[in-house]
Subunit: 327 residues, 2 copies
């Protein structure tokens, strides 16, 4: 499945400088201003100065709360009253549920029947309504469409929504406040919301910071889209980085093509090794997706000797009873 | 095995106010000034305001580096030239090896033949010499004695050494700088170095902060010593908190008796639950010993509603391939 976009042209709706700054003001004081950690071990292994932005400590355990909060809180009162809706079985579902509860509006989350009970419970605990559907893209989109028609709820797409992208840009905006002279910033890429937000902020609000997306080779659709200029979709993605199986969209693809400097790939065993090293050396819990950028440094895809490198650790939601190295 | 001490009398050698402050100056800028983390979940579960001091992020992955560094760096040049020695198969061994390397002096570590290869390697990587002995207390003490006679090295006991105790007090001294109005501070207790240092700092340098030691019921020697006024030794301690199997000593026992407000006990499954909750909710890696204080809050041993509570997370050195909930 391929789509063609004229990537020379950026949709008018994508966030500009003012949108990014407004998003930062909107979420400040509600999202956690997450700490930066560093590791002598990783500096030694890579020759760079690595600064890890700990979104695993974010509310909900992932950066996703930033985008969901910005989207929910930018709704005009009239729209907000009708509630919000999304489809997700992951971090975005919880993030939207929480942001909606904070604003006092309803949220309906479309989830596949196969979603793990623990994720279903987490969304319910935040007071959201769940609509189950079959575990196919078509069923999911149909169920969501039905919710929107029925309730008038605003759809908040997990990555392609421009308000979500602007919200995710606040990770980089915090990083930029805390670190001077950053040469490079690395994020994982799945749907591209975090990568797009980071790239927009790096190019519109900062000077000469390079932006690299890091992707599992076994879900390399963003890489292939970026290199070919044609949006392609994942073909049976099979990676332990389960947050990165989704595709770029009509907003994230042109943003990534225009503002991202490169996308690099990593193998599954490299992700696993990087994840375990982060746990062992930094003493923090990160999910496989969050380890993809470090994996790209350790496998030699990127040379960062002498560089100051921001690495966004996207999240820390893992099932401790099913850790990948026990499989 | 029981010893009697007149615990009304504190040995002259124990650290006073000036010793504690000197230790703080000595280690500042070399040890990591560790961050504080909090968790809405745990505040809600306990009704208190819990501030977690993250010594799992300390150099070497545990608070032990503070005591070892203070001890090594307080040696007069003449003694330092003859090197240092200790017995330990755990965090203290690495800490002494690293502190010695930083000062450019030799370190000899007595380790049981049964010590895990990963720990042996870590100590060797820091350039220390290892002497193996049988895995009994008698063999360990004999081997150490021999090293001292042979080389003139200074023995740095893992917990009972007064310079080590003063070094461990710097955890509380940092906590006190960062938090005002602390009501209570909790630490795990094994050999009592951390608890003694914390209690001395809390009572000599702060006002009206209560100090509670938290101990596994299956290694309850400090509890029994504290309650009875007679120093008793662990009787086949069997706990997943393997750092807490050791006993109080000639310095730590009288300090604990005089300056600690109480010692409370927790069960094994409570330690495991608290450890896993810390990983899941705070997204940090802590070892079982570090989870003992939270376990004491969650099992109802301590009521902290409305209180500001410092909790020292003592370390994060765990074997990720042998996590206790997979056993």
């Amino acid at each position: 499945m391929e789509h063609e976009y004229d990537t020379g042209q950026i949709p008018d709706s994508i966030p500009d400088k003012a949108d990014l700054k407004r998003a930062f003001e909107r979420v400040s004081g509600v999202v956690r201003y997450t700490p930066l950690l560093s590791s002598q071990t990783f500096d030694r292994m890579t020759g760079g100065r690595l600064l890890f932005k700990c979104e695993n400590f974010q509310t909900g355990g992932a950066f996703k709360f930033r985008g969901a909060l910005n989207a929910v809180n930018s709704l005009p009162e009239e729209d907000a009253r009708k509630g919000v809706a999304t489809h997700s079985s992951g971090n975005h579902a919880q993030a939207v549920a929480l942001a909606a509860r904070m604003r006092g509006i309803s949220a309906i989350i479309v989830m596949p029947e196969t979603a793990p009970q623990v994720k279903v419970n987490a969304v319910r605990d935040y007071g959201a309504e769940i609509r189950f559907c079959e575990a196919t893209l078509a069923a999911r989109e149909e169920a969501l469409e039905q919710v929107v028609v029925e309730t008038g709820a605003s759809f908040i797409h997990p990555s392609n929504d421009v308000r979500v992208i602007a919200g995710q840009s606040t990770v980089f905006q915090e990083l930029q406040q805390d670190v001077s002279g950053l040469d490079l910033v690395l994020t994982p890429v799945g749907g591209g919301g975090l990568l797009s937000g980071t790239a927009l902020a790096a190019k519109l609000l900062a000077d000469s910071v390079k932006v690299i997306g890091c992707e599992p080779a076994q879900a390399d659709d963003a890489y292939r889209s970026f290199k070919s200029g044609k949006l392609v979709f994942p073909d049976h993605p099979d990676t332990i980085a389960d947050g990165l199986k989704t595709a770029l969209g009509s907003n994230t693809f042109p943003i990534v093509r225009k503002f991202v400097d490169d996308i690099v790939l990593v193998q599954e065993e490299e992700i696993l090794r990087a994840m375990k090293l982060i746990w062992e050396r930094m003493k923090i819990v990160v999910e496989p997706s969050a380890a993809v950028p470090l994996a790209a440094l350790l496998n030699g895809s990127l040379d960062v000797s002498g560089a100051r490198v921001g690495i966004i650790l996207s999240g820390g939601n893992v099932d401790l009873d099913a850790l990948p190295w026990y499989r």
